[in-house]
């Protein structure tokens, strides 16, 4: 069993109303000088060994469903204990 994390963020040029609302709330709470953009984190438990093929499959899943690449970018991180973390950036 391996864990793969997919982080999805709105592209920089896309307005992020949720992030703006959080930024405003933080300012009201006294956390000055902080600007927030809000994204999504997906944790995928992947059965079996995390081969490059499996990782590529997760990348395809992210591209197909988890992110809308018209407005979002995503990063896939493998978090398998005992191996060097792999990373695929889109």
């Amino acid at each position: 069993m391996a864990r793969v994390v997919v982080d999805v963020m709105p592209k920089p040029e896309i307005l992020d109303p949720q992030g703006k609302a959080v930024t405003g709330a933080l300012a009201r709470l006294g956390f000055a000088g902080v600007s927030v953009r809000q994204g999504k984190r997906f944790e995928l438990e992947v059965d079996g060994e995390l081969t490059p093929e499996r990782l590529a499959e997760v990348h395809r899943a992210a591209e197909t469903l988890l992110a809308n690449t018209v407005i979002e970018s995503f990063v896939v991180h493998a978090e398998e204990p005992g191996t060097a973390p792999a990373q695929v950036v889109d």
């Binding site: 307005l15 949720q18 703006k20 609302a21 988890l66 809308n68 018209v70």
Partner: protein
């Protein structure tokens, strides 16, 4: 024989019954379609209605776009069948890449519900041929995620090719680029918009009946085709 117009019900659709009723009041034969079905029951056109399909989980329309019936809708749209996406249906059409761009949360960060003035920019689609370009109409708008966005090149193409079908008047309610309320594909058979024409077909329940031409347009198109 009246043209058969299908309306897809997804889990969480709200306005499927109003869309079916609008079809009936306009002289078509309404056909309820189910998201889990892999057939379109031989309909002549399809409407994807408003609502919150799959609870808007992940992104509006992202999960519905892969519903079994959508495979058929996409194939039929590619073959030229008229398809109209209203609100959540517009979001589904964008997620399915039948229309370019995407809908994001309103820049005003609130749900917007109002009688919205629109300008018809193109009568050159199967769903707007009974309008005249330049017509100003009032249609109900009600959404939280109606901000239309697309990259510069897509916007240039939409504007250049006359694929912007409706534009907001009297103020942009949600931050949509170029005040875009609705667009069409290059062929003009697939139209998506955020406002709800199916709510504006009966003087009893709306300030205008400006939604009627959407349905009569597609019925004229289909009767001319036979």
């Amino acid at each position: 024989m009246a043209a058969r117009i299908g309306v897809v019900t997804f889990p969480g659709s709200l306005d499927d019954h109003d869309a079916l009723r609008a079809v009936r009041l306009s002289g078509g034969e309404p056909v309820p379609l189910w998201h889990g079905s892999d057939t379109l029951d031989g309909v002549d056109a399809v409407i994807l209605p408003g609502g919150f399909s799959y609870g808007d989980y992940l992104r509006c329309g992202a999960i519905s776009r892969f519903a079994p019936v959508m495979g058929e809708v996409i194939a039929a749209a590619d073959a030229g069948m008229p398809v109209l996406g209203i609100c959540n249906g517009f979001q589904i059409l964008c997620e399915a890449h039948l229309l370019p761009g995407a809908l994001i949360r309103n820049d005003v960060r609130t749900f917007v519900c109002r009688d919205q003035r629109l300008r018809v920019e193109s009568a050159d689609t199967t769903w707007t041929s009974d309008f005249t370009a330049g017509d100003e109409i009032t249609i109900v708008l009600k959404n939280g995620e109606g901000g239309y966005v697309a990259d510069e090149e897509t916007l240039r193409r939409l504007e250049g090719e006359g694929q912007v079908v409706f534009r907001y008047l009297d103020g942009n309610p949600n931050g949509s680029f170029h005040d875009i309320a609705g667009i069409t594909n290059a062929r003009g058979n697939v139209v998506g918009l955020m406002p709800h024409p199916e709510h504006n077909v009966d003087p009893l329940t709306g300030p205008s009946t400006d939604g009627v031409p959407f349905f009569t347009s597609v019925l004229s198109f289909l009767s001319a085709k036979v």
